[in-house]
Amino acid sequence: MRQKALFIVPYALWIVLFVIAPLALIFYQSFFDLNSHFTLANYQDYLTSATYLKMTLNSVWYAALITVVTLVISYPTAYVLTQLENRQFWLLIVILPTWINLLLKTYAFIGLFSRTGSVNQFLQFMGLGSHQLLFTDASFMFVAAYIEIPFMVLPIFNALIEINPSLLNASKDLGATSWQTFRRIVLPLSMPGVKAGIQAVFIPSLSLFMITRLIGGNRVITLGTAIEEHFLTTQNWGMGSTIGVVLILAMFIVMFITGDSREKGGRH
């Protein structure tokens, strides 16, 4: 029994120090103002300030849009992948870009989207004229979706290949067309994957701050951007923590809504 206890010491220490303590601290910190006085003012400010509430709604709205765009692109991708012979290989090809540093991928879009960048050169070539692409909402969402696609494809792919092929035969056997089979069997059975994908995309999209800065040009303020700003720029840790608590709450809500999806696939 003693030995068993020794096993768990480093891991338990990690849980206490790096899981429980930081979360407790961020909660605790949210009750302090700039002068280290205990106060509820941060929450009061947050709940009464149109700027904060609007920012939160905005952030949720953008995260939702990014999630929808990613889902619309990823579901067919995952579905086609499952139909291929070397599907594990092709899946690897879809996943491979996630191993490339996120910053580098984002940086690439700075070049691609710049005023005289390749995309504009292409648009001009097509006779569509050059446009301001960088620092627009559209470019921010495009880059975010681009980065999230593999995280959505993977859980959906896993849910799809888990569907017993004889269920599809059974459906056909009972008279269903391909479309009916898809709508009534494949789609409902892949929902756990879709939910896991939404979870994997929506929460990070709420907290993005690097892409908002580099591509969105600070036009889009997300919860993540606000936290980063309060902690690292204005040094108002109390308010930053309050927004952090809001973000954690949002995370739990999303997890609750997309809950009961089994712990499969996703990025975990």
Partner: protein
């Protein structure tokens, strides 16, 4: 003789270089219970899949009610399948599973409800409609799968190794129930199995498949008593198969000893194989025996003793006897002329039937 509801004409199936079915021909009469029996990899499931429409024949014709259906997709065939793993939709409850086929066809809701209820009643699952599939036991799932198929009133019901996932006792119960259900509904059942006991117990007709060919077709009794070749004799039941020479009609020579038998129609001195079922052999004293043998092993099996013994020519015999003996004892083995079944090498099913007809007519 009713007319064939389903017919295979020279059907072959290849996957790339791999030949799975070779020149399959058979007809299926309406309202009977057929079993496709064969070892795994014999091609029996492929035949089923071609009937259902999940696989396409590479050559030949599949006729349903006299119409060629090679190109009719699975969802437009009047055939339903009970799958080996049941393939019940996990996101639907029992009633929803059973209703699926009717909903697809656009049957009215009230009618669906009524027919689902009837189907569940037929498989003795009254009141289980709202249960989740995961809350059902293996045997219950089996019944749901059957209900889901028969509710559509198919002309032919295909059952792919449908009982293999059940434990022995449940399997025997289901065999009886399936047979009863088939009689009650009057639907043609085509049952695929590798279990010969199951095939013998349930079928009107058995088709023995091996190596992509139909080896023999017949009633369970025919196939058991008059196997066409070594494979069938060996696959169905236990058997002693020994080489012999057909001296003349009704006399076969085994190990240099002539025996009276009931087979005829072969060339004089033709090399043949002789089948004697273990239960047709019995133990007696050495002087009364047709063969003398030494007992090697004896196992008590409840209904009888399973004995192995070797004769003077070191040939091993399997004997199922109700008489006890002792290991090492010298015994005599006795059997009757009608217990001997002679098989020619490479005889086709048609030739076999013709030969049987010829000398059985002579006798009459």
């Amino acid at each position: 003789m009713g007319k064939n509801i389903l017919e295979f004409k020279h059907v072959g199936k290849r996957y790339d270089e791999n030949v799975v079915l070779r020149d399959i021909n058979f007809g299926v009469e309406a309202g009977k219970f057929y079993t496709l029996l064969g070892p795994s990899g014999s091609g029996k499931t492929t035949i089923l899949r071609i009937i259902a429409g999940f696989d396409q024949a590479s050559s030949g014709e599949v006729l349903f009610d006299g119409q060629r259906i090679n190109d009719v997709p699975a969802n437009q065939r009047q055939v339903n399948t009970v799958f080996q793993d049941y393939a019940l939709f996990p996101h639907m409850n029992v009633a929803e599973n059973v209703a699926f086929g009717l909903q697809i066809k656009g049957v009215k809701k009230t009618v669906i409800q009524q027919r689902v209820k009837e189907a569940l009643h037929l498989v003795r699952l009254d009141g289980y409609g709202e249960r989740a599939i995961t809350a059902m036991s293996g045997g219950q799932r089996q019944r749901v799968a059957i209900a889901r198929a028969i509710v559509n009133r198919p002309k032919v019901l295909l059952l792919d190794e449908a009982l293999s996932a059940l434990d022995h006792k449940l399997r025997v119960d289901m065999q009886r129930e399936l047979r009863q259900l088939q009689r009650q509904l009057g639907i043609t059942f085509i049952f695929v199995t590798h279990d010969q006991e199951e095939a013998l117990a349930m079928s009107d007709q058995i088709m023995i498949i091996n190596d992509g060919r139909i080896q023999q077709t017949g009633t369970p009794v025919d196939i058991y008593d008059e196997p066409l070749n070594h494979f069938v004799a060996d696959f169905i039941g236990e058997s002693n198969i020994v080489p012999g020479v057909m001296k003349k009609d009704y006399v076969v020579n085994i190990n240099g000893q002539d025996f009276e038998c009931v087979d005829a129609g072969m060339k004089p001195n033709e090399k043949v194989e002789v089948v004697i079922r273990p239960e047709d052999l019995d133990i007696t004293t050495v002087d009364k025996g047709e063969l003398k043998a030494t007992v090697d092993t004896q196992l008590f099996r409840g209904v009888d003793y399973q004995i192995t013994a070797h004769d003077q020519r070191e040939h091993e015999w399997k004997i199922n006897s109700i008489h006890k003996t002792t290991v090492g004892a010298q015994v005599g083995i006795v059997f009757d002329p009608e217990d001997i079944h002679v098989m020619r090498y490479n005889e086709s099913e048609e030739d076999f039937d013709a030969r049987l007809d010829s000398y059985e007519e002579d006798e009459d």
